[in-house]
């Protein structure tokens, strides 16, 4: 191991514009890229400067063309076999190359697993500040620097953070917070190709394969609707009714820590402090008492529906609608009613 030398930092006076990391995976743009394009456009407009996007991958020409429909001024593409799948080293080297060429004032990426791996590495390479997991972004009129708002301690407190002396000002942004850019029929914006820096050419880590754990599983962090089960549903077989309600509502299945720890459902479904942080339009908590560790993972949802037999359960304190009664009767009744429609 050899310690990295002090990074060559960008001169703030030379930095202009906003650059987003346009995340793609397996040949498809992530919806996170459109959220970043929306957020980036608003910041760029506030500054009166350009919006750039960095697209990394292999054979991503079509994706670059597609990005031309989202109001981005310049799309910077690094296309190389070593970037076919996400690996920390070549991706951060390639993104740094784009940043050093473009010299943006602000760099945004979604707080996805890829974004949360990649951008901290990039920040260290650039000697730049990073505010992680933001829920708000604004430009300070007086200083023209970024004010990034983020929750801490599971959302019990929020902080405004500035990175005024370093460039770029880097922020990762939580999923589903930023209104996505709308697709326009007419393409615009210029595609600029960048070479892969030599240091990225040979990745030390090797990507073996990508495994979908459940065919057709819903990415909870991107879901509009989540139906979660907790200890109160009684056992693993009760996740069948949870799944049925989720299907009726077109959503994904979540779970509390208690249900996961009991072995009723896989960890990938866990919502909460040591699981996924979600913010769907509708979150249905079935038989979940509402321990703080669960609340911090879901309380930013637009509408919360809680079903619990105990009217004093803490989950009702965050619920938009509190349904008091037997979860085994109410959940199937809801599934039936929502399937009927009308």
């Amino acid at each position: 191991m050899e310690l990295m030398k002090d990074p060559e930092v960008l001169n703030p006076d030379e930095c202009r514009g906003v650059c987003i990391f346009a995340e793609q995976r397996r040949g498809a743009l992530s919806s996170a890229a459109m959220e970043m394009a929306g957020a980036g456009r608003r910041l760029a407009d506030a500054l009166g400067e350009d919006l750039h996007a960095a697209l990394l991958g292999h054979g991503v020409g079509d994706l670059a063309e597609e990005l031309r429909h989202y109001g981005i001024d310049k799309i910077h593409v690094v296309d190389d076999p070593v970037l076919a799948d996400f690996l920390d080293e070549p991706y951060s080297a390639a993104l740094c190359r784009v940043v050093r060429d473009v010299k943006p004032s602000i760099l945004l990426g979604a707080a996805t697993n890829i974004g949360r791996s990649l951008l901290p590495n990039v920040a260290v390479r650039l000697g730049a500040g990073l505010t992680a997991g933001c829920t708000g972004l604004a430009i300070d009129d007086a200083t023209r620097s970024l004010v990034a708002t983020r929750p801490a301690f599971g959302g019990t407190i929020f902080a405004d953070v500035v990175m005024e002396n370093r460039r770029p000002q880097i922020a990762t942004v939580r999923r589903r917070v930023m209104a996505p850019a709308e697709r326009r029929d007419a393409p615009s914006g210029e595609i600029v190709r960048h070479d892969l820096p030599p240091c990225a050419a040979s990745a030390r880590a090797k990507f073996l394969e990508s495994v979908d754990e459940l065919a057709g599983a819903v990415d909870l962090t991107a879901a509009d609707v989540i139906v979660s089960g907790g200890r109160g549903i009684g056992g693993p077989e009760a996740f069948e009714m949870i799944r049925e309600l989720a299907d009726a509502l077109g959503g994904g299945v979540g779970a509390s820590r208690a249900a996961v720890d009991a072995g009723w459902i896989a960890y990938s479904h866990q919502v909460g402090q040591t699981g996924k942080q979600v913010r769907p339009k509708v979150y249905v908590a079935c038989g979940i008492s509402g321990a703080i560790q669960h609340l911090v993972g879901m309380r930013a949802s637009d509408t919360i529906i809680a079903i619990n037999r105990d009217p004093e359960a803490p989950i009702f304190r965050v619920a938009t609608y509190g349904l008091v009664g037997d979860v085994h009767k109410i959940v199937p009744a809801l599934a039936k009613r929502f399937r009927e429609g009308g």
């Binding site: 191991m1 050899e2 310690l3 990295m4 996400f86 697993n113 890829i114 949360r116 791996s117 901290p120 590495n121 920040a123 260290v124 000697g127 730049a128 500040g129 990073l130 992680a132 997991g133 004010v147 801490a152 599971g154 019990t156 407190i157 929020f158 902080a159 500035v162 990175m163 005024e164 002396n165 370093r166 030390r204 880590a205 990507f207 073996l208 990508s210 754990e213 990415d219 909870l220 962090t221 960890y267 402090q273 040591t274 509408t303 919360i304 529906i305 009702f316 965050v318 938009t320 609608y321 509190g322 349904l323 008091v324 009767k329 109410i330 009744a333 809801l334 039936k336 009613r337 929502f338």
Partner: protein, 258 residues
């Protein structure tokens, strides 16, 4: 197989207080605990040691009281503990923290693997692990849910992704951050607790570490600054629906249709 586990002491409360002037967390008099995911990192290190031999060193940076989390790791079975404690480190953000931890790891010596919790419960930035890896210029895989094996100087892991997982192979030395699904941490044995009681973690100050520039540590080395802290808006009062299951379903359906 020499493994370093980076661990952090965090407030064991949701009732946190901040200094209005500095925007920094008030730590005095608050109950503390080891960050939950760091406990999973310690557990994984101990399991690898049991399979492959070697030593596990727990490393933390923090105030004097942070020695408690090192003792926790020793009670679980860590061989050594290193505590970097220096007033000059106060106010460090993730950039300054990863800079310093990398140098502390350099001081520990020959290291094959570095493990960190995927994120902390307090800050939840998930930045320090990958930041340390970059400072040490070693490969990094974040959010590892399973270590499949180690052979020929390479480690094969499963990286948790939104829709499943990726399998990645990585030469050692490397840094991994772990998620909760990777294991169930052991309960410390009585023998372990006795050992931890007597164990003196190695105390280091900035002066003990190689190649540390004062302008890159603590508040001076930080690129972020908190300008304001505030409480979130309260959620509006909810509506309670009661009655037979069918009636409740009908009421909710009508409300959500609007």
């Amino acid at each position: 197989m020499n493994i370093v586990v980076c661990i952090k002491q965090i407030p064991d409360t949701t009732d946190v207080k901040f200094d209005r002037e500095t925007g920094r967390l008030k730590r005095e008099g608050q109950p503390t605990t080891i960050n939950a995911l760091d406990e999973h990192a310690v557990e994984e290190a101990l399991r690898l040691k049991e399979q492959h031999g070697g030593a596990v060193t727990a490393l933390t940076m923090g105030p004097e009281k942070a020695v408690d989390v090192l003792k926790h790791a020793v009670a679980m079975g860590a061989d050594e503990a290193v505590h970097v404690c220096d007033d000059a480190l106060a106010g460090a953000d993730t950039l300054a923290t990863s800079y310093l931890l990398a140098r502390a790891i350099g001081k520990i010596g020959a290291v094959d693997l570095i493990l960190c919790g995927g994120e902390t419960i307090d800050g939840a930035t998930a930045c320090v692990g990958p930041g340390v890896a970059q400072n040490l210029q070693i490969p990094c895989v974040c959010f590892v849910q399973k270590i499949e094996g180690i052979a020929d100087g390479k480690i094969t892991v499963q990286r948790m992704m939104e829709e499943g997982y990726d399998r990645v192979e990585c030469p050692l030395p490397a840094l991994l951050t772990v998620v909760k699904g990777i294991n169930v941490p052991r309960i410390s044995s009585l023998k372990g607790k006795m050992r931890a009681k007597k164990h003196q973690p190695k105390a280091l100050t900035v002066a003990d570490l190689p190649e540390v520039k004062p302008e890159r540590i603590g508040a001076a080395g930080s690129a972020t600054r908190v300008t304001r802290t505030f409480s979130p808006e309260k959620r509006p009062e909810g509506l309670m629906l009661e009655g037979e299951a069918d009636e409740i379903a009908e009421q909710l359906y009508q409300h959500l249709r609007k």
